[in-house]
């Protein structure tokens, strides 16, 4: 297995906020090009990579969707050289003060998110958490310079550097969901040395954090027979310990709930057990909070599954994930794809149909 870390680190060192995925898409395209037969961009900016199967005639296809967009901020107001910002994707404003950022103005400008001096805030805004509308970005530049380089609507992305941590852990921003893009990359690398009769659509989707719009439209466009979505899930750790959380580095999760086809769940679980890849059942009763929610209802309905990579501190600039879990997901998907029989689709039936 090749070392995925350098690629993953490069991916979490670029921005690529929802609907502005370009910087991430370019890196992914470069990495995937030698691994697939064809790559195009969708109308909304998702990356569609086709790896043709070895089957004869009309081949069924599987779509593997990993969203590449990241959460971040955008400029809402400029005042005396300071920037007010609003969120793209869900951000708890309490994790922002002191965070290094890049403001994507007429040039890339490094800055920092700050809590302003208390006395400059309305009295009722000083106690407890400082809400996002009161936080500011300081670019270290004079107001005239800021006015000439930054406009309302400019993007603001996190600028925390990737860090290698003990226990084969990587930390940084946007591991949600670039960690899954890395897993899909491992899958494609493994498929180079395997026969698979199905066509494989490796898709890095756009806009998951805001609209799920990339996955919905890609699923329509590509019309796959089934889909696997890979996204991050909550790892156990400080502040997260309930039934929705899973130990980091101890295996992947397979989602169970209304977004997912139970037959696919069963098949993935059986295969993982056979390969001795540890898994946990990730219970998502209704909306899975992933691209599967929109892919499932594309076209006339697409059987979908979701694999999860446990990640700590989701939607902060210091997310953490275990490289081993990324590798496990990549390997499981490669095995699943190479084991797909030509008539697998006809086997996807409900128990009552049998």
């Amino acid at each position: 297995m090749t070392d995925i870390l350098p690629f993953l680190k490069s991916l979490i060192n670029v921005s690529g906020l929802s609907a502005y995925e370009g910087p991430a898409a370019r890196l992914i395209e470069e990495k995937w090009k030698p691994l697939v037969d064809d790559i195009t961009l969708s109308r909304l900016g998702s990356l569609h990579a086709l790896k043709r199967g070895h089957g004869k005639g009309r081949r069924p296809s599987i779509m593997i969707a990993t969203h590449m967009d990241a959460i971040g901020l955008l400029v809402t107001k400029i005042e005396d050289g300071f920037l007010h910002v609003d969120e793209i994707g869900g951000i708890d404003s309490r994790i922002l003060p002191g965070t290094p950022v890049i403001v994507h103005g007429k040039q890339e400008l490094p800055g920092v998110i700050v809590i302003p001096p208390m006395k400059t805030l309305p009295e009722n805004a000083r106690d407890d958490a400082i809400n996002l509308p009161h936080l500011l970005v300081d670019l270290g530049l004079l107001p005239s310079k800021v006015a000439s380089l930054v406009r309302v609507g400019d993007l603001v992305s996190f600028d925390t550097q990737p860090v290698d941590m003990a226990g084969d852990i990587i930390s940084g921003h946007s591991l949600d969901n670039r960690a899954s893009v890395a897993a899909l990359t491992i899958c494609l690398e493994e498929l180079k040395n395997k026969l698979h009769s199905w066509d494989v659509w490796a898709v890095a989707t756009a806009q998951e954090e805001e609209t799920l719009g990339g996955a919905a439209t890609s699923a329509f466009d590509l019309h796959p027979d089934l889909a696997i979505v890979v996204d991050v899930t909550f790892a156990k750790g400080p502040g997260a310990s309930d039934w929705q959380t899973f130990p980091m580095g101890k295996g992947l999760t397979i989602c169970w709930g209304a977004d997912l086809h139970p037959f696919l769940y069963k098949k993935l679980k059986e295969l993982a057990d056979k390969l001795e890849i540890p898994t946990s059942m990730d219970i998502v009763p209704t909306h899975s909070g992933t691209d599967a929610h929109s892919i499932q209802v594309a076209r006339e309905g697409i059987p979908s599954a979701v694999l999860g990579i446990p990640l700590r501190y989701m939607h902060t600039p210091v997310e953490m994930v275990a490289v081993k879990d990324i590798q496990r997901v990549g390997r499981l998907m490669a095995e699943f794809i190479s084991n797909l029989e030509d008539d697998f689709v006809s086997k996807i039936v409900w128990d009552e149909e049998k």
Partner: protein, 348 residues
């Protein structure tokens, strides 16, 4: 005239990226010792860990001038392991806990990287997000294989950067003072005995400076520190009349603070020096805050003191912001002032 240039900025970067939390200032102490030894007549590391440097002048009737800058910074101490690689911690020095979550940190002598995370927003409630997070509720996470032990110190991860006219980093308070003091030793004038205290434990009660003053027995003292610039726009009706200092307006000369009334002779002397030499400067708004001058003034039979600070925004957070020109002018003011000190200054 010597000034702050590329090599001084490089030294500041090295100082800022060191970890030197109150109670263990060894990393900054090492850099200071390396820098000052070739220039010093005497160097002593005292019982608390402060570096006390004597640089003697020439001629008769030399005033013994103590210059103080503190080597310590705010940070944390690990107090208990409570999971695989996760640690409970206590803050050291005045850290607003609202600046902790979502930050990169480093811990221990090996600079082990870690983070202070937070519960994912998806698992929080609206009401919970309105409440600030206390340090007690947060953990330092070194990764599942992370090795550290209770008692280890840590602080925000090094992040020094130069941006336009600004310097951005953790611990500009008081590495700006340390870097200034090192340069003043290198260019010390002959009319005074320069007694430099690179002191410890300022952030937890001005403790190093107190004993440093008792060792040096100076005739007068100047504390070189970093003071908040609260010069941000108002977010409600009214005018910002409590800015303390403003970036870009030069070194801040103190009139008083919460623990000291600066010596009127020395305040006037610094103002006159700045005006004569046309060095941009500002008067720090009176009140609040404190520097080592508070401890020095009340040591021995009393020491006339004054404080001079480089303004910086967002003190005691992961990243503060200062202006390079303010630092240059702080050095210039002190360099010129030292040369002008005569025994007459202290005769009222």
């Amino acid at each position: 005239m010597p000034t702050i240039g590329t090599s001084q900025i490089k030294l500041l970067e090295k100082l800022c990226n060191a970890v030197s939390v109150s109670g263990d200032e060894s990393e900054v102490r090492k850099i200071v010792l390396e820098e000052v030894k070739p220039y010093a007549d005497e160097v002593k590391v005292d019982a608390l860990g402060s570096v006390l440097v004597t640089k003697k002048g020439k001629g008769a009737k030399r005033v013994r001038v103590m210059l103080d800058a503190h080597m310590d910074e705010v940070g944390f101490m690990l107090v208990a392991e409570d999971g695989e690689g996760t640690y409970e911690f206590k803050t050291i020095g005045g850290i607003d806990s609202r600046n902790l979550a979502g930050k990169q940190v480093i811990v221990g002598k090996d600079h082990t990287p870690g983070v202070i995370g937070a519960r994912p927003i998806h698992l929080t409630t609206y009401n919970e997000r309105k409440k600030s997070m206390s340090a007690d509720s947060l953990r330092i996470d070194l990764g599942t294989g992370g090795k550290a032990k209770p008692g280890d110190r840590g602080t925000f991860a090094p992040n020094f950067r130069r941006v336009g006219p600004s310097l951005m980093s953790k611990s500009l308070d008081d590495r700006l003072g340390i870097a200034t003091l090192i340069e003043l030793i290198k260019s010390a004038p002959a009319n005074i005995d320069l007694l430099a205290a690179f002191s410890v434990q300022e952030e937890i009660g001005l403790r190093g400076a107190k004993v440093a003053a008792q060792y040096f027995k100076p005739d007068m003292a100047i504390a070189i520190d970093a003071t908040p610039a609260n010069d941000l726009p108002m977010q409600y009706e009214g005018e910002n009349i409590f800015y303390n200092t403003k970036l870009g307006f030069g070194p801040a000369i103190y009139i008083n603070n919460s623990s000291t009334i600066d010596d009127p002779r020395l305040v006037k002397f610094l103002q006159e020096t700045a005006e004569k030499s046309k060095i941009p400067h500002q008067i720090r708004q009176p009140g609040g805050g404190g520097t080592d001058a508070g401890a020095i003034q009340k040591s021995l039979a009393g020491v006339p003191v004054v404080s001079v600070s480089v303004p910086h925004r967002y003190t005691h957070t992961a990243m503060s912001v200062s202006r390079l020109d303010d630092w240059k002018n702080t050095f210039a003011l002190l360099y010129v002032a030292l040369k002008r000190i005569t025994p007459a200054l202290l005769k009222s």
